[in-house]
Amino acid sequence: MDELLALRESFRSEVSAVNSLADLQNLKNRYSGKKGLLTSRLKSLSSVPADQKPKFGKDLNELKEYIEGEIKGRESALREDDYRQRLLAEKIDITLPGRPAFFGRTHPINQVLSEIKAIFVSMGFGLEEGPEIELDYYNFEALNIPKDHPARDMQDTFYVSDDVVLRTHTSPVQVRVMEKRRPPLRIIVPGKVYRCDSDVTHTPMFHQVEGLMVDTDISFADLKGLLELFIHNLFGSNTPVRFRPSYFPFTEPSAEVDIGCIFCSGSGCRICKTTGWLEILGSGMVNPRVFEMAGYGPDEYSGFAFGMGVERITMLKYGIDDLRLFFENDLRFLRQF
């Protein structure tokens, strides 16, 4: 009896001292192994007086269950411990920076250009392109700007030869497309254009987006509706828009499109030259002379065209105050967008 109690006590103290799985295994062997203490007690059952046998057997069994239970419990605690230790050892400094990896940036002009393209594509416009070095015919004559016409002064032209120029606008593509296709036409033409001019507000190269819509019954009201839709998409639906008569040889009537100054909300500031308005688009109904030259019957179709400077829109959208930054390609500038 006492012997079993003593065994139980000694096990209890021993098992609580065990600190490793290996020690635990030894302990287990010593108690419940083939030659273990419990086994030897079991073998001594025969020497126990008959009347005490049932109780001894029962106690022994209890002790055995107790020991096995303790060992199991201890084992899982040690394993848990071990696992935790191992994870701890694998710890890294998660505050170190990640491996340097970064994306580049798209040029702000092309970011705005994509935005413009996406808006028009969503309205069913197709994208077209044309040559940057262009025949005088397409750049001027087919757009109702004959040689020796004062309208040529509106654009300072880079000449390659007498009849070849760096295109001064994306409008020549209108004619090139009309020569190839019949209405209905809905296209935009993004691209680089060139003017022989360089100062604070002019660069010799800049980007334009030209638009053209031609069908059998397109009116000035359609021009207004579409461009308002576009502007509200690009600058927000509360942006005031106004159309103001202007002149382009290839459209008639022609309109400049102004938006309410986004910096002063129309109250007048340096950027809008205190007018409260910012000019962002030129537009107009396609001049029938242009239709004629492109081979369309002038009374058969009507349509409108528009053009915008991407640099200007980009400057307005991002609050950029110096046009020349676009072409300096300073990464400290480009990475801001």
Binding site: K192, M205, D215, L226, S246, Y247, E252, S254, T275
Partner: protein, 848 residues
């Protein structure tokens, strides 16, 4: 153009505030770009249009007159617009010199009537040339014209007021008192008022007197006939010159004047007499004298044009429903005659609106006065049309995104190029990039040509940034270049260019590979994104690149561009103050690349059976490229080999001088079954592969267990080239068998082999090694003993002549003193197959 509000009020009694007037004019098509408050000739303040209120002595409007509105290049013209906008009457100044005047005594003849339709004039005799009255001087100065004397000032005053240019000759200096309007013809020369000797071309229209040219018609008068302080008699000219002729002459001479500006836009042929009379009266008023009778040669009379327009057409084009009466009312206010014809109406524009000839011209006038703001907005109704998707555009976007995601930031440069840059890059004389297009009138000589390559601008961008302390510089640009191929227009080609520069200062996670590979990786990612698989890289001959670090990019065998490090000579010219900077540039012909992109995406089933991978490392001479090896391998095809990929490159410690190690992974797979080890067993294929590799170089000696083995155990080996081979990952060992019929029984095996460490048994003449079985191929006749002593720890079988090979007995790997000579009978081309104990992956890792 600057106009005084006070002056406008001479013509129209407008009460509205300057700001309101400016606003109405702007919305009617005369954009007022600024308002200045002036007192006398002093500008007091620049007034904003958004502000209102200040009343000064006078206000000056800066008006932007578009080229289609020559009728507005005057106070009268603006006043007419104000009158129309505010529905006010227009007052005209006195312009009647009276009746019964004496003749002018100057004869006028128009020789070239195609360039001059009307020439009128009056003589004013007995004038006193003096200073103009203050009111006149003030008005001129407010409008930006410097007063000179009363005669000149009057001509300018009337030009500003009525928009018609006049010219005052000193009548006494006109030889033979005669005016002849004729072309310059050959060799004409004239000293103009500005004191410059001009040589107008043959077709320029000049005004001649009896002895020579006295003025360039419509552009500038001659000095010889100019009014001076002593002038007494004036001949005042008021004429109509052909706009294009004036424009051509003015352009040819590079001489612009207020007169030419108006003539070339078109003046009012009917009104010129009024201007002449007004000026005559003002001269008399300011200088005294007598006005003489009009001389007027008017050959091609102005014929008013009548345009018939339908009301419906006007409203259809505008999207409006303006009543017919309102349309006619608007036109009437502009001084345009109209006549209602029921469905249509007739329009008869005045001479100053002679550009109104078509329906749309009428529509424009109606629209601008009706007010663009009053026209409704509607969303267009139109048929659906295709074309909103553009595959090229989509592809370009994906190129931009791909390169951007590789860390490159987009640059946009001018399309101009300095041709000296081509010399800087040593571009050869016959290179395509020398076929550039020149601009006739560049802003700067350095921008005199159109780009044929993106590289110079990208290098400039690099220099800009490095000099400002930016350390990581990665640019790309998507732009056209222009190659003159002799056609009317050059060939325009879309290029993708880029530049990469990485700062070498310490970074926490070092990546020390040559910059070239960063860029090549980006290009490979790009081509992968475009699903272009068949690309390769060959050494490039670009003159500006480092000859050893530059590649031409080939796609399906065609050269699409280059990538490489800028050569030392260029770097030196850039004077960077950085030691050994690696600046990598690339350029791709995107038109060509995009032309090869297929939109079709095809599906193939994901493999259902597992692959077996076998790895093989090869130590090669430096000058054998990875591509050489892959190309040789690719000549060996097996249905079971799915891919052979390079996955490791090593050079440096433990590698012999001039050598590098390349590790390839051979992936075996069958579409219809799991491969047996036998099928994918590398030895079966390696002899084929190795023979090809071996044929690359005569110094190729053997394949050995692993690069680790050769590096760690042998140290700098006496082998010139070693090709190690080791299978990976497979925990199973090959059941070797029938591949090598020679070794079908244990009896053929050298018994010593069983003593090799790690070797537990032999099966059919093949090694059976726990873990992995590593085949080693070995060939040569001059192999040194130390290598063979390594092999002595291994089981060895050889091929094709096993009997002739001498096998070192009872030696161990540690016994490096053991040395043998290879069998003399072993042919130099013989291949031995050697199995060595497995280097498990763990062991390899540890050894590394």
């Amino acid at each position: 153009m600057r106009v005084s509000l006070q002056w406008i009020k001479d013509f129209v009694d407008v009460k509205a505030s300057p700001v309101e007037i400016a606003d109405r004019l702007t919305m009617a098509g005369l954009e007022i770009e600024g308002i200045e408050r002036v007192d006398g000739d002093m500008v007091i303040e620049v007034e904003g249009m958004g502000h209102s209120g200040h009343t000064g002595n006078d206000m000056v409007f800066e008006v932007n007159v578009t080229p289609n509105r020559p009728d507005c290049l005057s106070i009268l013209g603006i006043a007419r617009e104000v009158a129309a906008a505010f529905q006010l009457p227009l007052k005209m100044p006195a312009a009647d010199p009276g009746e019964g005047l004496t003749p002018s005594g100057i004869s006028v003849e128009i020789a070239d009537t195609d360039l001059c339709s009307r020439y009128a004039g009056r003589q004013i005799s007995g004038v006193t040339v003096s200073e103009s009255p203050k009111w006149m001087r003030d008005r001129l100065e407010k409008c930006g014209i410097r007063p000179i004397n009363n005669i000149v000032d009057v001509t300018n005053y009337v030009l500003l007021e009525l928009g018609h240019p006049l010219h005052a000759f000193d009548a006494d200096k006109l030889a033979e008192r005669k005016i002849r309007v004729a072309r310059a013809g050959r060799d004409a020369a004239i000293m103009t008022l500005d004191g410059v000797e001009r040589k107008p071309d043959e077709n320029s229209l000049l005004i001649w007197d009896g002895s020579g040219p006295v003025a360039i018609a419509g552009v500038m008068g001659g000095e010889g006939s100019a009014v001076t302080a002593t002038t007494r008699n004036i001949f005042l000219e008021s004429a109509y010159f052909e706009p294009t002729s004036v424009r051509r002459t003015s352009k040819q001479l590079g001489l612009r004047s207020e007169s030419s500006y108006r003539f070339e836009r078109g003046t009012d042929i009917e009104f010129l007499e009024t201007a002449l009379n007004r000026a005559s009266l003002l001269m008399k008023e300011t200088g005294g004298g007598t006005i003489h009778h009009l001389v007027d040669v008017y050959l091609n009379r102005y014929q008013p044009v009548t345009v018939e327009v339908s009301y419906e057409r006007v409203n259809r084009l505008l999207g409006t429903a303006i009543p017919g009466q309102d349309i006619l009312g608007i036109l009437g206010r502009l001084g345009i005659g109209t006549e209602d014809k029921g469905e249509t109406f007739l329009v008869t524009p005045p001479a100053y609106l002679r550009d109104i000839r078509h329906t749309v011209d009428v529509v424009e006038e109606v629209a601008r006065i009706y007010g663009f703001g009053n026209i409704p907005s509607r969303v267009p109704k139109t048929a659906l049309s295709d074309g909103s998707t553009n595959p090229r555009e989509t592809a370009i976007s994906s190129v931009r995104e791909s390169v951007r995601k590789s860390g490159f930031t987009e640059a946009v440069n001018y399309s101009f190029m300095n041709t000296a840059d081509l010399d800087m890059l040593s571009i050869p004389a016959d290179d395509e990039r020398r076929k550039y297009i020149s601009v006739k009138n560049p802003l700067r000589q350095e921008d005199g040509a159109m780009r044929t390559t993106l590289a110079p601008a990208l290098i400039r961008n690099f220099m800009h940034n490095i000099s400002r302390g930016v350390r990581d510089i990665r640019f790309f640009e998507l732009s056209k270049v222009f190659i003159d191929e002799g056609g009317r227009l050059p060939s325009e080609r879309l290029r993708l260019g880029g530049l990469f520069y990485r700062d070498r200062s310490p970074s926490i996670w070092r990546q020390d590979l040559p910059s070239f590979y960063f860029v090549k990786g980006a290009l490979e990612a790009l081509l992968d994104e475009l699903r272009l698989k068949e690309s390769s890289y060959v050494m490039s001959e670009e003159t500006f690149l480092h000859p050893g670090k530059a590649a031409d990019v080939l796609i399906r065998g065609a050269r699409a561009g280059y990538v490489g490090e800028l050569g030392p000579a260029i770097i030196e010219k850039l004077d960077l103050k950085i030691s050994k900077p690696e600046v990598v540039v690339f350029e791709l012909d995107l038109d060509m690349v995009l032309g090869m992109v297929s939109r079709a995406k095809t599906y193939s089933q994901i493999p259902r059976y597992p692959s077996v991978e076998r790895d093989m490392a090869i130590i090669l001479d430096d000058d054998i490229t990875a591509d050489d090896v892959l190309r040789y391998f690719s000549g060996y095809t097996s249905d079971l080999i799915e891919s052979i990929e390079l996955f490791d490159y090593y050079k440096g410690k433990n590698m012999p001088e001039g050598k590098k190690s390349l590790a390839f992974r051979v992936v075996y797979r069958a579409g219809d079954r799991t491969l047996t080890d036998e099928e994918s067993f590398l030895p079966k294929h390696v002899p084929m592969l190795s023979k090809r590799a071996i044929s690359l170089t005569s110094t190729c000696l053997c394949f050995i267990a692993s690069e680790v083995a050769i590096n760690d155990i042998l140290g700098p080996s006496t082998l010139t080239t070693v090709l190690p081979v080791f299978p990976s990952r497979s925990s199973r060992t090959p059941a070797a068998p029938a591949l090598y019929p020679k070794f079908t029984s244990k009896a053929d095996d050298p018994p010593e082999r069983t003593r090799c460490p790690g070797v537990t048994s032999l099966t059919s003449g093949m090694m059976y090694i726990p873990g992995t079985c590593i085949p080693v191929f070995f060939m040569n006749s001059t192999t040194s003993g130390s290598v063979l002593s390594l092999f002595s720890s291994c089981c060895l079988t050889y091929f094709p002549a096993p009997a002739s090979f001498l096998w070192p007995k009872a030696s161990t790997p540690a016994d490096s003193s053991y040395s043998i000579s290879p069998p003399a009978s072993l042919s130099p081309s013989a291949t031995m197959i050697i199995y060595v104990p497995a280097f498990t992956s763990e062991r390899i890792t540890r050894a590394k």
